[in-house]
């Protein structure tokens, strides 16, 4: 390539395979799809014309072509097309070093990791904002802020946004960024697929957000049929969103799994693999096996709405149980997709901050794989009172309770690791310790839900809502922030303001518990989930919860302030290895070179060699900048 910079006219620079073109093609594709759908379905539903715009096919085709246009605009068709034309394979996108690569198709796993972090962060804030609006409504026992339909859309948006976008909350940013560094690889197994997972997820997020233009949806994140069959076309946004998330999740899992299986550096045996990578293996197994069920289920639901099939319509010969079963066959592994990466992060970080090797490494792996296996055998505890398979409830009670044995292994490893260590309370460590507390409460409250007699009260109440917020927000989100404070200094080369970070932690931890602990009580007192009204005597407790939730929301603004202040305004350089970690990713220079390692390292031991005279973790882990 010529080194002479040729000034191109502005219009030529704007048009190309970039986000701007992609957006234009996406919007164009949407209207084309809408137009086609209107012509296919329009005439056959003439009696429906007074409710204009209720054409499911038009909306789904619009979304479909819109996403296709968006991906083509980003350049996803270039490689397959050029290969079909016989051009040589290349990874040329990766060599671009400008800031622009963050705004388009890039196959560098480190760029994709950063894209994920920011992209998911945006949707996490939208989802969080929905929660604030929900709590605003619940300040009063009867609706006074939002009409019931808008309230349900808020509930559904919050749940679906969090359950959908955050499935990749840790694997998207951190596994994509760190796994190749931790296993001594120059790239991922399928770099273009990796980029595709990110842009599909962003497209999905936009699809879900646009539901507000089409009447919203009133089914919550579970989308039960036949209720979903009644919904306005905003329901189609939900169906397509979750299907896209499923595709993205499946591909992300496949890519990470293939990377860890095939691209480990010499000497990095399975028994030397960092525990975080093991949690990625466990999570990706769930993603690869559970997500296809979701995609198929949502396709069936979409066909019920567009093509007059009756998979889930009882009155036309289908079964509403079929949807519930299929959804939870995916849905229960899904919650462990959210929980497992947190296990990995906590066990990965604890040894660094107590200066001891990870205690019970194999027990930890057994715990993660045990959870992975068991999570496929518990789904009917979500439908204990549905009337299906009532005789099997003792089995599902047993399998659900058994899953706490491998989860207990994780606690055992954490307890063994901190024992007689030299504990330092840095911010990531604080988040890990908070995880232990939150997940403990989340776990023991699960005992009440798994016990059928006790579940009669707690099922579908605020108790179960508090339970899964303790495991997902208390587990996933706390470990997510532990990972941010721990690894972002590596990813950006900049360090966070520690005082603001500590304020963020304490606000978040205290007000998380003050918000969600009373919800157990509200559930016990008979408050059902997703209801816009509640009994008048529960108002004091609800007002308390709402107030604390707002402070919890403000703690996120503290984090945002810290991010803007530290990473954009102050830009203080972080130390090369501030936590004195022995893991491979910290041995690389910052910023990490495009191809990570100049020479692939030879690994001679696991990264937990603390507590003894320091032995280099890998021979020949020479950074690409060439200091060795």
């Amino acid at each position: 390539m010529s080194t002479v910079a040729i000034a191109r006219p502005l219009w030529r620079r704007l048009i190309g395979f970039n986000l701007l073109t992609a957006t234009a093609l996406g919007v164009g594709g949407f209207f084309l799809g809408w137009f086609i759908g209107d012509h296919i379905q329009g005439s056959s539903i003439s009696y429906y014309s007074d409710s204009a715009g209720q054409n499911d096919l038009a909306l789904l085709l619009g979304y479909g072509l819109g996403i296709a246009g968006f991906l083509i605009g980003l350049g996803f068709a270039n490689y397959p097309l050029s290969r079909m034309l016989g051009r040589p394979a290349s990874l040329v996108e990766k060599d671009d070093q400008s800031l622009q690569r963050y705004f388009g198709l890039c196959t560098d796993h480190k760029v994709i990791g950063m894209q994920y972090l920011v992209g998911i962060g945006v949707f996490f804030f939208i989802g969080g904002l929905n929660a604030m609006l929900i709590r605003t409504e619940l300040l009063q026992p009867s609706p006074n802020v939002f009409p019931p339909d808008q309230y349900l859309t808020l509930v559904g948006m919050h749940g679906t946004m969090m359950m959908g976008m955050m499935t990749s909350g840790i694997l998207g940013p951190f596994a994509n960024y760190l796994v190749p560094l931790m296993i001594g690889s120059r790239r991922m197994a399928f770099p273009r697929i990796e980029a595709l997972t990110f842009w599909l997820l962003m497209a999905a997020g936009v699809v879900l957000t646009t539901t507000i233009f089409f009447g919203g949806f009133q089914t919550g994140w579970t989308g039960y049929d036949p209720l979903s069959d009644q919904g306005q076309i905003g329901m189609d946004s939900y169906l397509l969103f979750f299907a896209l998330v499923g595709i993205s999740m499946m591909l992300l899992g496949l890519n990470l799994l293939a990377t860890i299986i095939t691209m480990r550096a010499p000497g990095l045996t399975w028994s030397r693999l960092p525990i975080f990578c093991w949690s990625v293996v466990a999570t990706t197994l769930l993603m690869v096996l559970a997500a296809p069920v979701l995609i198929a289920t949502l396709l069936m639901a979409a066909m019920d709405r567009t093509a007059q099939t009756a998979f889930f319509i009882q009155s036309a010969g289908g079964s509403s149980y079929l949807f519930e079963n299929l959804f939870w066959v995916f849905g229960h592994p899904e919650v462990y997709v959210l929980a497992l990466p947190g296990f990995g992060i906590v066990l990965e970080l604890l040894p660094v901050f107590v200066r001891k090797p990870l205690w019970g490494y194999r027990v930890g792996i057994a715990g993660m794989l045990g959870v992975t296996l068991m999570s496929f055998f518990v789904w009917q505890h979500h439908i204990f009172f549905s009337g299906i398979n009532a005789d099997l409830r003792p089995f599902y009670m047993l399998s659900t309770e058994i899953i706490s044995i491998p989860t207990g292994f994780i606690f055992l490893c954490a307890m063994g690791t901190i024992w007689r260590g030299r504990m330092r309370f840095s911010v990531p460590m604080l988040f890990c310790l908070a995880w232990v507390f939150n997940f403990l409460i989340g776990g023991v409250s699960g005992v009440f839900l798994s016990d059928v007699p006790s579940d009669v009260t707690t099922h579908g109440s605020f108790f179960s809502m508090a339970h899964f917020h303790y495991t997902i927000m208390g587990g996933l989100i706390f470990s997510f922030f532990a990972a941010i404070y721990y690894w972002v200094p590596k990813m950006t080369g900049l360090r966070f303001n520690e005082r603001l970070a500590k304020i963020h932690f304490w606000m978040m931890f205290i007000f998380f518990n003050l918000t969600f602990m009373p919800l157990f009580v509200l559930g016990f007192l008979g408050m059902p989930r997703r209801a816009v009204t509640y009994a008048a005597h529960l108002q004091a407790l609800n007002d308390w919860v709402s107030t604390c939730a707002f402070v919890l929301g403000i703690s996120m603004l503290v984090f945002l302030t810290n991010t803007v202040w530290s990473l954009i305004l102050r830009r203080e350089a972080a130390e090369a290895n501030p936590w004195r970690s022995k893991s491979l990713e910290w041995q690389l220079p910052t910023p990490v070179p495009v191809y990570n390692f100049e020479r692939i390292p030879v690994v001679t031991e696991d990264p937990y060699g603390y507590g003894m005279p320091s032995i280099p973790v890998a021979a020949g882990a020479a950074p690409a900048s060439g200091t060795a």
């Binding site: 009172f385 009532a390 055992l412 016990d451």
Partner: protein, 275 residues
């Protein structure tokens, strides 16, 4: 201090704290756990909840004592980064952890199953229940639709009422079904919860033991006015029930004549989307 002294201390602290906390929780929280003594099933659930509280208290206390102790005693002072001992595991600790957690879990599952199989514990059991309490039940059908519950009494000419009244100290066999989407019938004080599915007869048993009104709520998201789908039921004396149901039969006689005959499920015409 060597490892054994630390462990002994934590163990002792745990025993002490559990010995104080567990009875306190059982005595103070036990009597107020839901759903109260409104029915045989509700009282059973209170027992279950109390046993579970008693089981989880020492677990929570144990982990909390352990981590608090570690955070205080094993914190690193000063800026120097000191290394801890290079211990990578302990076979005995791992073995006993697995044994103890497995025993706890198996006990919980066995206890829950045993309790469940007594009388169904107030949960929906589907069309062919296996946990059937002894006695001759009064059949009452709960019909859910968007967004209300109605009730049919097949033993009283299949009259459909807008209000639920149940006689005290009488085994009731509720048949829960739906006409449209999935709902859930939750009678909080009676300790009853059963999903209402279209085309499904979901049976649940309950024996009210206290004269009171009880709250009924839909606990499965069922669309726009899900939040408004609540009702108040009444447990009354058998004689009050007899006079109430006689009045209802007269009151609703014109409606009863045009109702479909009593059945365990109803199949309204399919409501389909146009496209």
């Amino acid at each position: 201090m060597d490892q054994h002294n630390h462990l002994r201390r934590v163990g002792l602290l745990w025993l002490l704290a559990s010995a104080v906390a567990t009875p306190l929780v059982i005595v103070l929280v036990g009597p107020i756990v839901p759903p109260g003594s409104g029915s045989v099933e509700a009282s059973g659930q209170v027992t279950d909840n109390t046993v579970l509280l008693g089981m989880v208290t020492p677990v929570i206390v144990g982990i909390m004592v352990y981590f608090t102790y570690a955070m205080i005693v094993f914190r690193a002072a000063g800026d120097a980064v000191l290394e801890g001992p290079a211990v990578r595991g302990h076979r005995g600790a791992q073995f006993w952890w697995i044994v103890l957690t497995s025993a706890t879990v198996l006990f919980l599952a066995a206890f829950g199953s045993w309790r469940l199989l007594q009388d169904g514990s107030g949960g929906g059991q589907g069309p062919s229940p296996i946990a059937v309490p002894a006695g001759k039940p009064l059949e009452v059908q709960v019909i859910a639709q968007q967004w209300q519950f109605t009730y049919r009494y097949p033993a009283y000419g299949g009259v459909e009422t807008a209000h639920l009244e149940l006689p005290d100290n009488q085994l009731v066999e509720l048949h829960v079904t739906s006409l449209d989407v999935t709902h859930s019938f939750w009678a909080y004080q009676l300790g009853v919860k059963a999903d209402a599915n279209p085309g499904v007869d979901n049976v649940v048993y309950v024996t009210p033991t206290r004269l009171q009104s009880f709250d009924i709520r839909c606990s499965e998201l069922c669309g726009l006015f899900h939040g408004y789908m609540f009702d108040t039921g009444e447990v009354v004396t058998p004689s009050a029930f007899d006079s109430w149901i006689a009045k209802q039969r007269v009151l609703f006689a014109p409606a009863t004549r045009v109702l479909p005959p009593y059945a365990t499920t109803y199949s309204p015409d399919p409501q389909r989307r146009a496209g």
